[in-house]
Symmetry: C2
Subunit: 171 residues, 2 copies
């Protein structure tokens, strides 16, 4: 009797590297890699030491003073189990403080320190430069269209991700 | 004398969460998160246990039998220092084998095993379904345009990333 697995191994795999390179999943990873590298380079050049996620968390806490970690995780679409590490590093850097909540003694309210506020103001030009650099190959019209299409795809895929964005607090 | 840092801390930070959400860098991270989650879900549902990067590596080794790890890292735009872990897991799963190179005894050639070839063939429908799912919010025309714009942005940003894609081998 023919064993199908013996046949399968001789079937050439149709997926060429070119096919892989054109897959949305591959493009998503490459664009994200470039975005992170560009962000880190611009921010470092400006004299700051902050990752994209740390920046997103700092900006979110600044705009929503007193929020707790779970809400923060939702706001920046970050995993609840790993958000603690992000906040820890912001606290170590003196940019964020954890305060005991007035409503719930077990909860911790997050607040940006004066140094954190200074960092946010000072880092903004570098963050904006990074956004331009990561799209430097596109015309302005193309960059706008890319943002629109990504937003549309993300809106429809939000619940599919493990850490959906929950834009529930005022901002 | 006025201390500028004392002033800066009272300046409201102009970057709202809405601004952050519209930043290409944020969109890149969200789209990548969704792409990974969708890939893992589709592949698991099809009975396979493979991450997007493991899949990319397996496909690349299959199309370039005998390549070494450094070339593989370039082919899939993956960091040289972390590619070893990816290959290790493919070897542990019995999908890839390391062979001593005929030209260089210190180098190891990578080859897909029969089980790896079977996995690649079997997993393809799930991988393709994942690509469709991650773009389910877009029309076909929009999906095509998104891929084109991402490819254009990536091509121009390739050298900016820490692990540039090096498409040097035949495929």
């Amino acid at each position: 009797m023919l064993n199908i697995s013996m046949l399968v191994k001789w079937v050439p795999v149709e997926t060429s590297m070119q096919d892989t390179y054109e897959m949305p999943g591959h493009l998503a990873r490459r664009f994200q890699q470039i975005a992170v590298a560009v962000f880190l380079a611009e921010v470092e050049q400006a004299g700051y030491d902050l990752t994209p996620v740390q920046y997103a968390a700092l900006a979110a806490i600044s705009g929503n003073s007193g929020i707790d970690q779970v809400t923060l995780a939702g706001l920046i679409a970050y995993d609840r189990t790993t958000i603690t590490g992000v906040v820890d590093r912001l606290v170590q850097k003196g940019l964020v403080e954890r305060h005991e909540s007035s409503r719930d003694r077990r909860a911790r309210e997050l607040k940006v320190t004066p140094a954190g506020r200074e960092t946010l103001s000072g880092i903004t030009p570098a963050v904006e430069a990074a956004q331009r650099t990561m799209l430097r190959g596109l015309t302005q019209k193309e960059a706008k269209e890319l943002a629109r299409l990504l937003q549309k795809a993300i809106a429809s895929g939000n619940e599919l991700s493990r850490a959906p964005l929950r834009n529930t607090t005022t901002s």
